[in-house]
């Protein structure tokens, strides 16, 4: 089928391994992500706090410099609270970034019926979801656990092996809490993107999920005089799990195991909603 020949010809060359096809979706989706200057600026902005964190770690490990400025010696302590606050800030930024980037991932395929083009090839729905979710997964990793791990490494290098050994559990907490947050944000964004084809509305819905969810939870708690309303507050559930992971005072309300189960149920519902929509054709019964 050479350009100059203008005839049809079959392809007889080598093929890429089947397991690697989801990476095609990842590459093309990511390429389109950074075509928007706003999203690029937002992404770059997400690295502001990690840079500040690096500065704070440097200052905390150079107390003589702080003393010269006249400050107390323990003005800065790099401990679990420092990383907890760091993850909270990055978590909020991850949410904002997801609200802008996530909704366009699936909706653009659904809007013009492109799904049959994907699924008429040796390519499954699971691979499609994996490809799309990995875009958000890698994007959000770059602003959550990766800088968190870098900060931890810098602190470990500056504070010495005894600090690193006694705080090594923090690294696990940083990675685990980031992965939970990334998973739920990715699945939520993709599910909304699949059900609401208009990306602006899908983004607004994602924001509404968090804020109205908190309001709804408070209303239920107040009216029914219970703590069960917190199950509708995703941010509260996450905070409960994060507090536990970072060994911060557990907030009253929902026990940690129940918060874990609730988060897993949220993930399962999002995945179910997503797979219900991601089909070549919908069957009208």
């Amino acid at each position: 089928m050479a350009v100059y020949r203008r005839t049809y010809s079959a392809y007889t060359g080598s093929l890429t391994p089947e397991w690697s096809r989801w990476l095609v979706i990842f590459r093309y989706s990511r390429r389109n992500l950074f075509r928007s200057k706003f999203q690029t600026a937002l992404f770059v902005g997400c690295f502001f706090f990690p840079v500040v964190g690096l500065g704070l770690i440097y200052l905390a490990n150079n107390l003589s410099f702080l003393k010269q400025l006249g400050g107390p010696a323990d003005i800065l302590t790099i401990d679990n609270r420092f990383f907890f606050y760091f993850m909270n800030v990055q978590g909020v930024l991850a949410f904002v970034l997801t609200a802008f980037t996530g909704p366009g991932l699936v909706s653009s395929d659904l809007a013009n019926g492109a799904l049959p083009l994907y699924f008429c090839r040796p390519f499954s729905r699971a691979e499609y979801v994996l490809g799309k979710a990995s875009v958000l997964g890698i994007l959000l990793s770059q602003i959550t656990w990766v800088p968190g791990a870098v900060l931890f490494s810098v602190q470990a290098a500056l504070a010495g092996p005894s600090w690193a050994w006694s705080h090594v559990w923090l690294l696990g907490s940083i990675i685990l809490c980031s992965l939970i947050w990334i998973s739920i944000l990715s699945l939520l964004a993709l599910a909304l993107s699949a059900w609401v084809k208009w990306r602006i509305v899908a983004g607004a819905l994602l924001l509404a999920m968090l804020f109205f969810g908190a309001g709804f939870a408070q209303a239920i708690n107040a009216v029914m005089r219970t703590n069960s309303g917190h199950f509708f507050n995703l941010a509260y559930l996450m905070r409960t799990v994060w507090n536990w992971l970072f060994r911060i005072d557990i907030q009253p309300g929902i026990p940690v195991p129940q918060a874990w189960i609730a988060i897993l149920i949220y993930c399962a519902i999002c995945l179910w909603l997503l797979l219900k929509k991601v089909k070549a054709y919908e069957v009208v019964r």
Partner: protein, 325 residues
Amino acid sequence: MSTTVQGGAAARQVHQNSHAAPPVPLIELQNLSVRFGNRDILSSLTASLRGRAIGLLGPNGAGKSTLINTLLGFYRPHSGTARVFGYDIQSETRKIRATVGYMPENDAFISKFSAVSLVQMMAELSGLPAGVALERAHEALFYVGLAEARYRKVGTYSLGMKQLAKLAQAIVHGPKLLILDEPTNGLDPAARQRMIRMIREMRDSKEVRILLCSHLLRDVEDTCDEVLILKQGRIAHYSDLNEERRANRRFIEMEFYGANGDFSEAIQKLGCECAITANRMKIILPEGIETRDIYRLAAERDVRIRKLNFRRDTLEDIFLKAMEN
């Protein structure tokens, strides 16, 4: 070699010439039924199709697109099964999809992608390495006639251009079977001609086999050598168009002047069946008798033949008969 086609109670056996028939049927339907809720969309389809270009005909809602989607594994059969190139549609879907190129009926594109990016991505999803995919994307777009517009976003294309882009993504990976669902939908006459010409070219290249689904008889007649007609989810008729065309060459309609009873008697003595109305005659030629024998008889009796046509069943005749049945 024979092709057996059954639709519900109806069963037909059509004999085919063995010259073009491959050993494994292109599509084999084995009592295939598809049901959505309580509605039977396809009912007990049994057929073995071996043609190079197969037309899938039927009125709207006959189940043509459902059959295609079931062959591609998008819908699960309620009972029975089907095979494409010998691969089972339920257990070997991936193998089937690896050999197939599909052009859907409805809009299917990503509006923010340029045509070349879209076609390249689809080629890569079919397993072509990135560099080869880009090269073949350009070639496919040149081939379908979108060369000048290949860097434009597909969302800005006209309806006809979108159809061509869909065709390009269907052929970019060089499939063995090309499934075209209403490929001429929304095309103006010139664009339709171009599309039909391309389908014929691909068919004649012998590198790809074609399953064309359409409710436009003309499209199927122009491109296909086998036709499967569906009606209300059942097979209403199977037809080998080449065979029908050959069979119809024995049926003649003639208009003449200056004849008497002697002329028709002479024709009957040749072994022809004939029916006369005024100065027109319908003749069925037996084996061994050719039109030159009719001309010879006319010349001997000084009969002037004004018109002599081979009457042939058009696809429209076949289709209408199938619908009546």
